[in-house]
Structure formats: structure tokens, C-alpha cells
């Protein structure tokens, strides 16, 4: 069992540069946690503090019930897979995987058992006699994973392990790592800058920015209910369209008015919330996901919707869908519509938006309303 507890963990580098501000999180055994955020957000520093490669400036880190702040990395019962890894060029795959255990003086029979077990899970049994030179990039990455697996650690730490692979292989390895997590009785903590990796692999994701946690949630919740404007923009591809608008009261009902005069309705729940919190006649940020804009001609909504009009500037055919780009209120907008659309650059387009798909954020705090 390896649950982790990070309590008010902080990292300050010399020169008073704070890389991680106040990291609080409880990680359950066998969870797959993904730390995600733009470069410089503190995700790798957090992982390195868990590994023991970076000293914790303040706070406490527990692995299981043990406080490990001052425990050497090798004694933390963890294994780490890095973006840049190397294999022993003169050793076979089997020897590469066994080497770490040999150093630890693990009995030969046990080494053999562990290597073969890991090789089976990673489906590299047939490669055990090969040398690294004779392996493809993906196979080498599996051997690197296998080398960590044979240690049977309590916690697996992975720092952008797929970044050096090409796009196709990255997608394949993403699935492999998810499968690996399911087959092992181990906690995974994974760092990536790629929100797609985070969304597809994590049981929970931690979205970070400037050393702060922005949101800890399941991928679906982070997508459906972003805690703030940053998360709303970071999670989702293409990213959420953001406008500034004013909460107005028209005919006893609340609505949102964009700077070009477009009016959008609100669900009763949302309207009540805005009213109760004093947002009437105040500005708010309005977030709309590209896939929630439906083309009126081929995929119309029937009730509780608003109409957004625009002139298509670019139509990107993606195969399964089409991205329509247009400008609204001086902002670039993307609508992700059905591939059946006939709209092309220069065409006028009318899009439907269901009221319950509108995200609202406070202009000052940028927090979700």
C-alpha cells in the first residue's frame, strides 16, 4: 500500500525564487495522478521533491505512514522514469532490466522471475536477448519502463516519459502506460505539459500554474467544471472561447450581453447565482467550448439556446469534424461542427449554444461563478 500525503509542501530556490508555493494533496494507493501545466509551473519540481532529488523547503511529505523529507531517494521505495533515459549498450534487454537488481544483490532466481514477469506485462519477452541497438524507439522506452518495474516500487514517478517519442508512438505508449497502471498494484505520479496525456491517463489531474495548484479533480470534472479561467483555457483542444460580457436584466430575466450586442440566455440556476452574488450589470468572462457551438443548418438545438452569428474566415477539415474560425467581439472563435457542414471561408454562419453549456468567470478573481 502506498498512499502519499503532501502537506503544505513548498520549494524556494536560492535567490528567493519560489517554484512551488503550497502544495497540499492526499494521493490514494493505486491512483494515477497527472501533474500538468505550462513550463515553469512547478510540476517537475514537485515530482523531484517526491523523488528526493530536490530538498523540500517547507512542509511534509509522507509515503505510506512514513515521513520521508529526510530519507535518501534510494530508500524511498520509488522508481523514476525520465524523458531522457539511457540503456547499457553492451547488455541485452534482459541484462539491462536485471542490472539494478544485481546492484542490490537480489538473488539470481528472484531477478529472473521479476525480469520475466515485467517483460511479459510489457510484451517484450521476445526481445530479451536483443541489444538496445536492435530496438525501435518504442521498444527502448518499454525496456526503460521495465527497468523501473522490476524494482517493484511503491510509487512510480514519470517525468515527461513520452516527450522524446514521435506523435504516433506517443499515442501508442500512452495506452501502454495506462494498461501498465491497471496491471500493477502501484501508485503512479506522472508529469506532462500535454493536456491530452493528462486527460487520457490520469484518474485525477493536478493543474498547476506559477507554482500554485489551480485545480485537483478527475479529468472529466476539470473539463466540465473548470475552477478558473486558466483551467478553462488550458484543458480542452481547441481551447475554450473566452469573451467579456455584461450581466443584464431584460424583462425580469437575466442574460449576458456581449460587446457587439449579442445576447445570450442563462439557465435559471446560473441566473439565480449571478443575482445572489451581485453580478447584475457587472462584467464577467464567458467561456464557450468549441464543440458546444452547433451549426444551425445541420445540427440545430430546439430549446434554451442562443444564437451566435459570424463570418467564416477559415474552415479546417479534420475528417471527423470541421473547425470553423471566425471573429466575434474582436476575439478569434473556433466552432467545432459536424464534418457534414458546407460552410467555407467567406460564408455566414449561424451557431446555436445551449445555455447550460456556458461557463462564467469573475473578471477580477478569474474564478468560476
Amino acid at each position: 500500500m502506498a498512499n502519499l500525503s503532501l502537506r503544505h509542501v513548498k520549494k524556494v530556490y536560492p535567490g528567493n525564487v519560489t517554484a512551488v508555493k503550497d502544495f497540499n494533496m492526499e494521493i490514494e494507493h493505486k491512483e494515477f495522478i497527472v501533474l500538468v501545466g505550462p513550463s515553469g509551473c512547478g510540476k517537475t519540481t514537485t515530482l523531484r521533491m517526491i523523488a528526493g532529488l530536490e530538498e523540500i523547503s517547507e512542509g511534509e511529505l509522507y509515503i505510506g505512514d512514513k515521513l520521508v523529507n529526510d530519507v535518501a531517494p534510494k530508500d524511498r521505495d520509488i522508481a523514476m522514469v525520465f524523458q531522457n533515459y539511457a540503456l547499457y549498450p553492451h547488455m541485452t534487454v534482459y541484462e539491462n532490466m536485471a542490472f539494478g537488481l544485481k546492484l542490490k544483490k537480489v538473488p539470481k532466481a528472484e531477478i529472473d522471475e521479476r525480469v520475466k514477469k515485467a517483460a511479459k506485462i510489457l510484451e517484450i519477452e521476445t526481445l530479451l536477448d536483443r541489444r538496445p541497438k536492435a530496438l525501435s524507439g518504442g521498444q527502448r522506452q518499454r525496456v526503460a519502463l521495465g527497468r523501473a518495474m522490476v524494482r517493484e516500487p511503491k510509487v512510480f514517478l514519470m517525468d515527461e516519459p513520452l516527450s522524446n517519442l514521435d506523435a504516433k508512438l506517443r499515442v501508442q505508449m500512452r495506452t501502454e502506460i495506462s494498461k501498465l497502471h491497471k496491471s500493477l498494484d502501484t501508485t503512479f505520479i506522472y508529469v506532462t505539459h500535454d493536456q491530452t496525456e493528462a486527460m487520457t491517463m490520469g484518474t485525477r489531474i493536478v493543474i498547476m500554474k506559477d507554482g500554485d495548484i489551480q485545480q485537483i479533480d478527475t479529468p472529466q470534472n476539470a473539463y466540465d467544471k473548470p475552477a478558473n479561467l486558466f483551467v478553462a483555457g488550458f484543458i480542452g483542444s481547441p481551447q475554450m472561447n473566452i469573451f467579456k460580457g455584461t450581466v443584464v436584466e431584460e424583462g425580469g430575466k437575466l442574460a449576458l450581453k456581449l460587446t457587439d450586442g449579442t445576447v445570450m440566455g442563462l439557465t435559471e440556476d446560473k441566473a439565480d447565482k449571478l443575482k445572489d452574488n451581485g453580478y447584475v450589470n457587472k462584467e464577467v468572462y464567458i467561456g464557450i467550448r468549441p464543440e458546444h457551438l452547433h451549426e444551425a443548418e445541420i445540427d440545430p438545438l430546439t430549446k434554451d439556446y442562443s444564437v451566435i452569428k459570424g463570418k467564416v474566415e477559415v474552415a479546417e477539415l479534420m475528417g471527423a469534424e470541421t473547425y470553423l474560425h471566425f471573429t466575434k467581439c474582436d476575439k478569434q472563435v473556433i466552432a467545432r461542427v459536424d464534418a457534414k457542414t458546407a460552410k467555407r471561408a467567406g460564408d455566414d454562419v449561424e451557431l446555436h449554444l445551449h445555455w447550460n453549456k456556458i461557463h462564467l468567470f469573475d473578471v477580477e478573481t478569474e474564478k468560476s461563478i
Binding site: 523523488a51 534510494k74 520509488i78 522514469v81 525520465f82 539511457a86 549498450p89 546492484l103 527497468r147 505539459h193
Partner: protein, 330 residues
Amino acid sequence: MADLKELLKQAAEIIKTEVAVITRDETIVYPEDSVFGITYEEACKKAGKNYKGFNIYVSGTGETRFFVCVQGNRYHESEAVKLIMLLLNSVLGIVDPAGEYLRKALEGEYDAAVLAKLEECLSSSLPGYLIMVDNYGDSKDDVHEILINTMDVKISLVHENRIIAVTAEENVIEACSGFVKNVLSELLIECRIVIGGKAEYVKELCRLYRNCIDALCLKQIYNLGDSVLNYDAMYGYRIAYNLDHELKEFIRGRVFTEEFNEMMNGELGNTIEEFFKNNLNLTDTAAKLYIHRNTLLYRLDKINKCTGFDLKMFEDSWLFKLAWIINKEK
């Protein structure tokens, strides 16, 4: 050959350790009828030390196997005795003659007679690159083991808490980088390795050793994060260090204005570091920073507007790099 076999047999009884001697034609001399599952070539790769034609893989103590690779199939009695002496010394941890000669060569205090002796004893390890492993915590033996399994190490010793070795690797930078990664993966230790340069002759080893020490000092002075330091590639730092103090101040003041220092507090510092690391390549730098190429161009433009240095231009970039180095000096 019979003598060697007999001596090895006796030696194995004394040291209570299994010893395998593998000849070039892959006849295992001793123990007879043993299956070690290793070829001559593989055993040589594992064998880190080379002494007068013998490659000996010495690993820990106790039940660990020792591979002794002999290059020919016929050995004179005197050579067999030397081999056994070396083997016994290594196992009992008394003296490693080759290591001792290397230590003497690094110290550089010898007369012509001693130099002749050193050349005789170390010539089989040269030419090679002198490398130094630093910051390995309390895992000296494990780190050494990883070293000899990652690259072709001809001779090595522990000197002043550092592992010093001569390697015959052709692509020494790549090999060193692989070694550092392996130590990190296996032991979770972020060690450093310094390449002092290539030695053709024994008398060069002392200078290369000093290069290694200088490289570590420069690392400290300029707060370098690199885990592989190649002294020969550290010209910029060496020049900056030796510049006149007033000139340093002038260059520093020219670039690091108050406005620029304020800008530097954000992501700009990291951008500049990466841009230099990637040899001013826009595409590679953008990929490394996970930003769009245009974002990188925008940031470089901001630096240009603030300092007057266009980092995409060679003339501007080298002077800026010099100022950048000077500003890091402790």
C-alpha cells in the same frame, strides 16, 4: 597454460571466489567445464581495468565473479604470476598497481625514471579520455559498476572522493551522458561527470586532471546545471573568468540594465538559457520550451527592444552570451 590454470586454481581457493579466465578464442581456461554464458568480447567490455594485456573485471567482494580476459592463448609463466598477483591484490583490496600508477601520473610529481615506469605500465590504457565522476553520494561501488558497464573503461581509481578513469570511448560525450542517465535511473543520484580531455601520453594525464578540477570550479562559479562537463567546450566560461574586472563590469552594465533585470524575473531567463543551449535554433528551442515558434520570436524581440541585442544574429548573440556568463559569476 598449465601453470596459469594451476595458479588460478590455487588463487580461487585462497580468495574463495569464482574466477573465470576467458581467452580470445573463447576457451575458458579456468574453471574447466564451466558455463559462464559470456563471450570474450562481452567479458572484455565488462572488464574495466587493463594491466599489461589483462582485462580484469573486479566487482565488489565475496561471491562476485571475476572475469579475466587474456588476449592470446599462450602465456609465459612470469606473466601468469603477474596476473595472479594482480588478481589477489584486487580481491584482497591491498593495492591496485595500475590504479596506483594512474594516481602517481595524476599527481604529476615524478622524475624521468618514474615517468618511464609509468609509461610502461599505463601505455596499454592510452590513448583515452580522462574522466572524473563527482557527487556520487555513498554509492561509490555501485556508481563505479555502472561506469564500467556503460563505457569502455581502461583503468580507474578513487581519488579524493572522486572516481577517475581513462576511457577509450570514441563518442565520449554521448557515453558520459548515458552514464549519468543510468546512475539517475538506477540509483536516483544526480552525479556529475567531467571530461578533462584526451591523453595520448602519460605525461598529459596530470594536466587533464587539473582540467577536470578547473571545470568543477567553473561549474561552481557560474552555477552550471550540466551533469556532463566537457572542459574543452568551456571556452566561454574560461575566457569570462579571466577577463579584467573593470571590463566585466562594463559588459555587465551594458546588458543588464534595471529594465532588463525586471524582465528577467519571469520566463525570459529560461528562454535565453534554452536558446543558447539549442545553438540559437528557433525550432528546437521552441520545442524544448513547449511553446510556439512565434512565441519564442516574440520573447526574443522583447529582449532586442530592451537591450539592443538581437540574439538571432551571431555578432549580438556571442557578446550577449559573454555578458550572460559574466552576470552569473559568483
